[in-house]
Symmetry: C2
């Protein structure tokens, strides 16, 4: 369909936002609108400038016959910092405290706009890594993993605690939960992960890191690689030497949870240290 510049800008913006990370040849847009490649190039220049100005992300142009344009979603350092403050405030609400010192986060993990922001932040942190697939543990990590995967444009694979008939044959491992020291099982469908995949692990909560460590062991069974680890909320451990996982990106850090006085103390996680140089594409 023939479209004028104004219409092209609207449609190209939509198309690029729907296809993050994918390389789109200029000829694709030229054919789509019946326009010259030079006009498409100018359109892309306008979109790139606006994306960068408005904090939407950037466009990367790959020259040559096999080239094209790629939309990279990212969150600026300032925006990330503001958002982490907001997130800390949301999580520090005393009414989140549950018996046993647990935190209620179900509402956060059920909120599409919030999840989209968090997803874009993690995508920004791992933009430079080769990620083929995002992995998480059922149930709470699932919405978070999908939000990240959406911006990285890769699929999600879900590890479960029990094996279901609808998964087909599975690989299972036993692991020791870091905080409770109990032996638990995790299970992954055999056909859900290819050998050699680069896997980004995403989870909602980490204390000693037993679950994440279990997922890493499971990846070893599949001869897959860990591309990175992203955690929404990490909990300060009394015994930090006991922590099993050291190389991870976290958004929020739980310092103190006092059940009796209904008091939660949180601070930003290590996120901002990880995105220092990530705007050089």
């Amino acid at each position: 369909m023939k479209l004028r510049r104004s219409g092209r800008l609207v449609d190209m913006t939509h198309y690029l936002l729907q296809h993050p990370q994918g390389l789109v040849p200029l000829s694709f847009f030229a054919d789509r609108y019946g326009s010259a490649k030079s006009s498409i190039s100018e359109d892309l220049g306008i979109i790139k400038q606006t994306f960068e100005q408005q904090g939407i992300g950037t466009l990367v142009t790959v020259p040559g016959a096999a080239g094209g344009v790629r939309y990279i979603p990212y969150v600026s350092r300032e925006e990330a910092s503001t958002y982490l403050d907001e997130l800390c405030e949301i999580i520090a609400k005393p009414e989140r405290l549950l018996p046993g010192g647990y935190l209620y986060m179900t509402d956060i993990l059920g909120h599409p706009k919030l999840l989209n922001k968090v997803g874009k932040m993690f995508a920004t942190a791992f933009n430079h890594k080769k990620v083929d697939i995002v992995m998480t543990m059922a149930t709470k990590g699932i919405p978070l993993a999908h939000a990240v995967a959406n911006y990285l444009n890769v699929p999600v694979v879900i590890v479960r605690r029990d094996s279901r008939v609808t998964e087909g044959s599975t690989v299972s491992i036993n692991y020791v939960s870091g905080s409770s020291k109990r032996i638990q099982t995790m299970v992954l469908a055999k056909r859900s992960l290819e050998t050699g995949s680069n896997v980004l692990i995403i989870d909602d909560f980490m204390k000693a890191g037993g679950t994440v460590n279990g997922m890493m062991n499971l990846l070893a069974e599949f001869q897959a690689n860990v591309a990175g680890i992203g955690i929404l909320v990490e909990s300060e451990n009394e015994n930090m030497e006991e922590r099993l996982i050291h190389d991870y990106v976290s958004l929020v850090k739980l310092d103190k949870v006092n059940e009796r006085d209904k008091y939660i103390e949180v601070q930003k996680g290590n996120y901002l240290q990880h995105i220092k140089n990530n705007t050089n594409f």
Copy 2:
């Protein structure tokens, strides 16, 4: 930040796509770009026309002081029909057959682009209903529910089979699974659903409808209303009189599963009958 029309079109498109269903006052855009409302109106005219031409959705303008513009994502009938054919083809692959006549769908439910299309289709089907929240059953329904909720711009609430300490106090019901006739339990966190909510139930699979029926009973406990039921794959029942649920929207219908001959027969679900008049906003 002052932006020219071309930049405004890019940024407004992004903003509207990120805020489906929400009413955005014209003054919001006028302030954002330091532009006259008349220019914003013209911009919105261009965006509306392009959205409709390119099958992205539409813009609805609400006049008056409390008015503004609302982006309604929708999929046209033709696009939906084409996509249902593709979905049938994907699901009919014989390698999906698992022992016991079950179908492997984990890959489909882990694929962001596919989920987004399915989410937009369900959002189209339920655009006319008042939906406050999307409900699903853990684990497989979760990505699907989030994809729909994203386009409806509402939160998701997840029903579980077991109660977890991180959910706080819960309401649980027993129900009889329609196909296996076994008694099962489903649990919902008390604070996750408000009285009087209008709830869209989304699930990946329905046979006799026992699970969906259980969710409806659970909603009654919360004095919440069923706004609609959306099912990705429904399975033909030998005894259709036994089906517990009659008013639902399905994308794909499983007619025959022959495990011995590795043969799956599928057809489109009832989706297209449900979106007849949904383009009058």
